[in-house]
Amino acid sequence: MKFKGVFSTVVAIAFGFLVLAGYLFGVNADGSPSTLGQLQLFILNVAVILAGIAVIVGIFNLLFVHAGKIRQKQKGAIYSVILIIALLMTFMFGLLAHYDLPVARSLFNDAFLSIQLPIEASLMALLVVTLTYASIRLLRRRLNLLSVIFLATAFLILVGTAPWPFLGDVPILSNLRSWIAQIPAAAGARGILLGVALGTLTTGLRILFGSDRPYGGRNG
């Protein structure tokens, strides 16, 4: 490993241990934050600032990727043109709105409320269709007991949640829905979450050991 790699690994491990120690021993017996707790807070604040700077870098990356698409006249380059124009205009409105220019503030809000929000809501609606189609395909793709249970449970939850036309709330269905949601589904979800928590723990330890180095160095 080169010096740069060793240095970044040492820094990452050291700060990782400090933050971990801050989580474990960050509070004194009287409830006040300990030195480790204060240090952890400081490191996390620096991390938040760095994450903010990363967003700026990320937006430049987005800009360069789409500029490259336009330059190479790739398929769908027109969408890249629209993206870049929208990005620059929103940035400009945001900047002007910061200096209390009422028109810019209104345009900046409109960009979100009249363009981005409806588009994202439409995608959400599209998701309903996609999921319905995926559920139908599930039985064709993987016809087994688990798939049948999965779909039957989804169906029961759906009919137990929505009110029926002319009948309103059907107690037997809503009780069944509550039982499924509170007992088998909650038990399964907790089991999965415990597995995820254990996976998170071991992933964190591998990073603290320097085995996983996503910050410039080969894993191993």
Binding site: N61, F150, V196, G204, N219
Partner: protein, 252 residues
């Protein structure tokens, strides 16, 4: 329980896990461990082989797990897999691409791809291969879908923190008739992926990717540690339930 006692318990669990990982890594060098077969990883290996043979491209989507949140663990698992897959496909004509919905994650994906390309014989690195496609869940999905359709992708791996927007991504991948492997640490996304993907990974299987793709001895050991801790949790839950039962009937 006081904060200090909680801290000590936390430290104990972490220390136990670390000690087990170290011991099992040392033991593994003497006798290799065997795992149950996860069909998704077997099929992924075959798909990776086809990527190299066909001269097509691999796409790894890392989700939007911000690095300063607990969801970063799934993002790190995705980055480990990205590095391993980039190494495995380094003999191919086209380097893999990585998309993400978090800026810091996009930077790390670039770094990972750069490291993998430096280790390969070709050594060519394309800075646009690691991309930020959007900062909100749906803009991220909408930005990643064109990459799936337009960049000669034959294998899509979605590994990280996704929400329900993952359905749009995997639907695009399935429509493009590509091999799709998907995993998320989010419960809603897991349900969605179970319904829509050929090869979904459920629960902690996401974190097993490194071990199954031979990413290193510590990955293998960490799987065993997860198994041991899981058994400990089961025992604690059963003992706790038994104690509650005995209290309820007045024996304790």
């Amino acid at each position: 329980m006081s904060d200090i006692l909680l801290g000590l318990v936390g430290f104990g669990i972490i220390f136990l896990s670390a000690a087990l990982m170290g011991a099992l890594t040392a033991l593994r060098r003497k006798s290799p461990l065997a795992f149950r077969e996860i069909h998704a990883f077997t099929r992924m290996r075959q798909a990776i082989g086809r990527v190299v043979e066909d001269g097509t491209r691999l796409h790894v989507s890392l989700g939007r797990g911000a690095l300063i949140t607990p969801q970063s663990a799934s993002a790190f698992a995705g980055l480990t897999l990205l590095q391993r897959l980039a190494e495995l496909t380094s003999a191919g004509d086209q380097p893999p691409i990585a998309t993400s919905g978090d800026a810091a994650l996009a930077i790390l994906s670039q770094d990972t791809l750069k490291t993998a390309s430096q280790a390969s014989a070709q050594g060519a690195y394309d800075p646009s291969a690691g991309r930020l496609t959007g900062l909100t869940p749906f803009s991220y999905a909408a930005g990643a879908i064109p990459a799936i359709h337009d960049e000669n992708i034959s294998t899509n791996v979605f590994m990280g923190n996704f929400g329900v927007e993952a359905a749009l991504l995997v639907e695009a991948a399935e429509r493009a008739n590509t091999f799709t492997l998907a995993a998320s640490d989010d419960l809603a996304a897991q349900a969605v992926l179970y319904a829509s993907v050929q090869e979904p990974l459920i629960g902690e299987e996401l974190y097993a990717a490194g071990a199954y793709m031979d990413a290193g001895p510590l990955h293998t050991a960490s799987l065993r540690v997860q198994d041991i801790l899981r058994w400990l949790i089961i025992i604690v839950i059963l003992v706790g339930a038994l104690v509650q039962l005995l209290r309820a009937v007045g024996i304790l």
